[in-house]
Symmetry: C2
Subunit: 381 residues, 2 copies
């Protein structure tokens, strides 16, 4: 009998695995989803199991549109929103339909390491733009675009995580947001805004999305239920101008398949139609805020003053800078021997660099384990 793993996460005995940006299992809404699955089948019957509308199930689009209008102050037009199979699937589909192999994709440095792999699978040529504690450096972006222009080239897109960044936790400053969308509009460069951490804000409301600030067809904003509800439902949404959204909705893939993930769309619709969604978000914010604060307190107590790190306003990650000259990848075996793991920062730098950085995820463990992890990390560093 074939015996292959059920889930992606692998825990090694004795190691606190801060490498995984995965949710704490106790925070996944098992009971709520059990009810929601039954409610979806009660309410929509066989329609819940049939081919879904290409754009996504109407009831979920209606719920999302109302919520986006309320929380972001900009209601998407009916042709500016669609359901996706999560950020990864949406990013993949945009690459398929809106780029050609060899096109230039700009990415932040550092950036989400698996987005790099999706972009390269298409295959796009990646160029890194430096970021600082306020996010992407718009001056550096403008310089690189100008430099490309001098050689007759231009970037097709910029992939970025402006809100509660993976891996740094930083959010793009307000002035830079405005400057970024203006620059992208002027250059006709598509911004792909990975907005997956928006709901997980711990110190007040999140900053406005780039999509809400930009003229149509400048930004494709990719959002998801992966962090707010459950990754396993593989469900997200996209807001973009009608040209981009229309190209995706009009694809052969969505026509042939009947949208993506129609059943889980209606299951999540049933979950959201109750007050449960807001309760779930409130619960996550409290739980992950505590974890963030605990990990940061543990690091302050146990890491030497030669290390610095970010204080993320949301999301799952703390980004650590070791003393210059230290190599986080080389240090990892010793950290694992001491019972703590992380992802070396070099993974997130598509253009090289970042050897003395590392990413810690505080999402998976309970607070007491995070304190212990900080203690172990302190011993090794």
């Amino acid at each position: 009998m074939l015996d292959l793993p059920t889930i992606q996460l692998i825990r090694r005995p004795g190691i606190i695995e801060l490498g995984w940006g995965h949710p704490n299992a106790a925070l996944l809404p098992v009971d709520g989803m059990r009810q929601a699955a039954a409610q979806a089948l009660d309410r929509w019957g066989a329609d819940a199991l049939n081919y879904g509308a290409d754009q996504g199930a109407g009831p979920l689009l209606a719920w999302l549109s109302e919520r986006i209008a309320r929380t972001e102050g900009r209601a998407p037009h009916p042709d500016e929103i669609m359901i996706t199979g999560g950020v990864s699937q949406a990013l993949d589909q945009i690459c398929t339909l809106c780029t050609q192999p060899g096109d230039i994709a700009l990415v932040e440095s550092p950036t989400y390491h698996l987005a790099i792999r999706i972009l390269r699978d298409h295959p796009l040529e990646l160029l890194s733009i430096p970021a600082d504690e306020h996010g992407l450096r718009i001056d550096a972006l403008a310089e690189i675009i100008a430099e490309l222009r001098r050689t007759g080239r231009r970037p097709r897109l910029l992939y970025c995580v402006p809100t509660f960044h993976n891996p740094t936790g930083a959010s793009l400053q307000a002035e830079r947001r405005a400057a970024l969308v203006a620059l992208a509009a002027a250059e006709q460069m598509l911004i792909i805004e990975d907005d997956v951490y928006r709901e997980l804000s711990y110190d007040g409301p999140p900053p406005p999305s780039l999509w809400s600030l930009a003229p149509p067809d400048t930004v494709a904003r990719l959002a998801s239920f992966a962090k707010s509800l459950a990754p396993g439902v593989r469900l997200g949404w996209l807001t973009a101008g009608p040209r981009i959204a229309g190209r995706l909705i009009g694809s052969g893939l969505l026509d042939s398949g009947g949208g993506v993930n129609h059943f889980t769309s209606l299951m999540v619709t049933a979950f959201c139609a109750s007050a449960q969604y807001d309760q779930q978000i409130a619960r996550l914010r409290t739980a992950y805020r505590t974890r963030r604060d605990t990990l940061l307190a543990g690091m302050a107590a146990h890491l030497p003053p030669s290390c610095t790190w970010t204080t993320p306003g949301g999301g799952f990650f703390v980004w650590v800078r070791l003393p210059e000259g230290m190599d986080a990848a080389a240090l990892l075996p010793r950290a694992e021997a001491a019972g703590v793991a992380y992802l070396p920062g070099a993974l997130f730098h598509s253009g090289g660099g970042g050897a003395n950085t590392l990413r810690l995820a505080f999402s998976l463990y309970d607070p007491d384990e995070l304190i212990e992890a900080a203690r172990r990390l302190g011993r090794v560093v």
Copy 2:
């Protein structure tokens, strides 16, 4: 409030819509899926909502491998099988990872019209290979490959539906199956075998899959629960050699997303682990066999002898040839006025032709409506 459709199917009043290859709603297992969703969450708890293994959920892979070994006489190795988001998603991913824009994809003429759109979205150059009542003509295939070679080109892949073809209902003859896999192996041409109708065989067991006959890495067989259980779960599987399967499993998309459709994978696993899967297949075979036979009897009674059609051994479709010189697309408005609709055959011919052909789907309606549809069609033809 945004008011967009929930499902893809659109029924127009007064028209029997034989254009849609969609399931009869009464045959979708609503109660079984309600139980299965609850069972998946009871059995796997939070794991059912988490990031799934990149290759797909182990329990579903185990169930599939055992079933494939039993029904097809060839057990896939652990690195030769993976879970997909259905045939469309798998086809899309193969195009992304294993082709380059402008590569030549061979397709049957006629072939599944929405696969044509997925292939063109990548964008591949399509070349049509003629088929007859025994399926793809291998002599014509060999000729076209030889002709391409004379101009220094070769086909990257062949997309085909050898079993209960969409749109013709025909199955590829046994001798042609053997010849096809030998030719593909010799030419190092990937066969993408769309095997979505395998379970829906009405006159005995289905023919062997090309995958079960071929040397490794010659065939990627795409299978699905869309016809046997429910399209809305967006779930299928792929069997292929380790090179192709490994490329897909190792993609950024599956690493970033945690496989595709992890929750519905475990829901379907729970459904299949009971005896319900076999009961469901038996129920579908009986119900759709009756519909096929009823439609064929209605056509025999009401269509003029100048029309000919196929007798499909499985699947959803009857393929009709009108008298030479008639145009099924031009006839459609009159048919709709008479209360019956179909898909004109030209849609399925990527290289042109087929004007006097049309596809009828017998899957959506009950037998009495199929008789009435044949009567209306007879009046118009």
